[in-house]
Amino acid sequence: MSDDAKRRSAQLVVAVLLALLGFAAAAQIRLTHQDGSYAGQRREDLIELLDSLAAAAERTQKQIDELERTRSDLLSSSERREAAVEAANEQLAVLGILAGTLPAEGPGVTVTITDPSGAVTAASILNGVEELRDAGAEAIEINDRARVVASTAFVERDGVVLVDGHELRPPYVLDAIGSSHTLSEAVIFPGGLADEVSRLGGEVAVEEAAVVEVGSLHPVDPPEYAQPTDE
């Protein structure tokens, strides 16, 4: 055997050994690497960690369940509240129109009272308002200034008509919301407002309209003597 052959066989052996060593080392490193941040921890530590994780998850889940119940309570109460709010808003709209705090619109009539001789009195206008109320008027205003509500006061001072303190001058224009036909019938009914005004030398014109706007407002002051009852 030559020196060359001997050298080769020796190199071969070394190569094989190195390969095995490399394989073993690589296998070891791979296994070690898998552990990652848990490399230094014993199996018992890991099991304890797993247990405490499970316990923490359970606690958190319980909290979540509780909060979900709270939320569903909130949701159903907010649904109830929304229904109540809707009802309250409808009521507010109706009361606002009745009390005169909201501008209103709807079908109705515009009644124009001319009074060339200045003979039409506050009482005549009040009578006209009563006729309109009797015919189902739901909102009334005079001369786009005076909103007529339950407590509206009609006063005559020195020949001037004052409605809730508003000085009104003829022609008196009454806007009334309601059934336009019924309202106009009531005004021109024999013995009604039209007759009375013509007797006083004035004239009444009624115009039915699909939309009449009652835009003036009556401020609501808190009552001084009337208190809500406990019912």
Binding site: M1, V13, A24, L67, L95, G106, E224, A226
Partner: protein, 294 residues
């Protein structure tokens, strides 16, 4: 150690009697002598020694080398097998460990998810509670508004001091003679009460609202389309100290003083410390709606 003088001779055999000598012989001569013996024996046997001292018996060289290779290979195989075994054993030993770690990581991911859910839920509930608190205060404002409006509109019951008026036709009154109470008389009286500062009025228990009409039908007054029979009772809530006197200053009050004086119509007033008026039950409006609601 002796040193004998002599020319051309190989170095004398070292003294073999001392330990130091043996050691140094081992160090210096080691196998040389043996090799010489073997080599001479070999050359004697073959008659030629072409390979010289470094040659030697090929078989004995091979067996030596084979032994070394075998030993090294065995060592390599041992290391390799041990490495492979370790590589195979370790997954088994750490299969459980890896599984544990996997479970831990899954558990942590789940906990993170749960914490995310929890904080989202808390934020959501906080937002809703805040909303509802806002709604509640809006609702209480709305309730206050509703109460004021309903009192003003005449749909809520109210109580307070005020005055009570008793009205009746004149005794033996006949139509046209002036002894009958007309709707315009009652309208004027009610108007006078509003002028005098009344806050709520009812006629025979019927609360007056913006919709209430006071009319005359047949021989009787109608309030809110309901026919009333005399005597009529008008109740008004307001300042009991000023309401009666202010009423008498109004045109309505003056009218009624005249009716009483001239036609014998009953017109009695008295103050009350507590009057309770029911609210008018109302239905939804049929025609009027808030501007811009449709």
């Amino acid at each position: 150690m002796t040193n004998q003088a002599g020319g051309g001779r190989p170095p004398p055999p070292p003294p073999s009697q001392s330990y130091a000598g043996l050691l140094s012989e081992l160090m210096t001569n080691t196998l040389d002598a043996d090799y010489e013996v073997v080599a001479s024996r070999r050359s004697a046997a073959t008659g030629a020694s072409p390979q010289g001292e470094s040659g030697g018996d090929p078989r004995s060289g091979w067996s030596n080398r084979a032994g070394i290779v075998a030993a090294v290979t065995a060592f390599g195989v041992l290391v390799g097998v041990s490495a492979v075994k370790t590589a195979q054993d370790q997954p088994q030993a750490t299969a459980e460990r890896a599984q544990l770690i996997e479970q831990i990581e899954a558990g942590q991911a789940r906990l993170d998810d749960l914490h995310g859910d929890l904080s989202a839920l808390q934020a959501d509930i906080g937002r809703r509670q805040q909303e509802q608190a806002g709604e509640a205060s809006a609702a209480s404002r709305r309730t206050d508004d509703l109460q004021h409006l309903a009192m003003s509109a005449g749909t809520a019951a109210v109580t307070g001091p005020g005055m009570v008026l008793n009205l009746d036709n004149a005794r033996h009154a006949v139509p046209g003679a002036g002894g009958l109470i007309l709707d315009s008389d009652v309208q004027a009286l009610v108007n006078g009460l509003w002028v005098a500062g009344a806050e709520a009025i009812a006629i025979d228990g019927h609360r007056l609202t913006a919709l209430t009409s006071i009319r005359f039908a047949g021989q009787a007054i109608t309030v809110d389309y309901r026919s009333l029979t005399p005597p009529y009772v008008v109740e008004a809530i307001g300042n009991p100290d000023t309401l009666p006197s202010r009423l008498l200053e109004t045109q309505g009050g003056q009218l009624w003083l005249g009716l009483r004086a001239n036609y014998g119509i009953t017109f009695e007033t008295q103050t009350e410390s507590t009057i309770t008026l029911a609210g008018d039950a109302y239905n939804n409006l049929l025609w009027a709606r808030p501007v811009g609601s449709r």
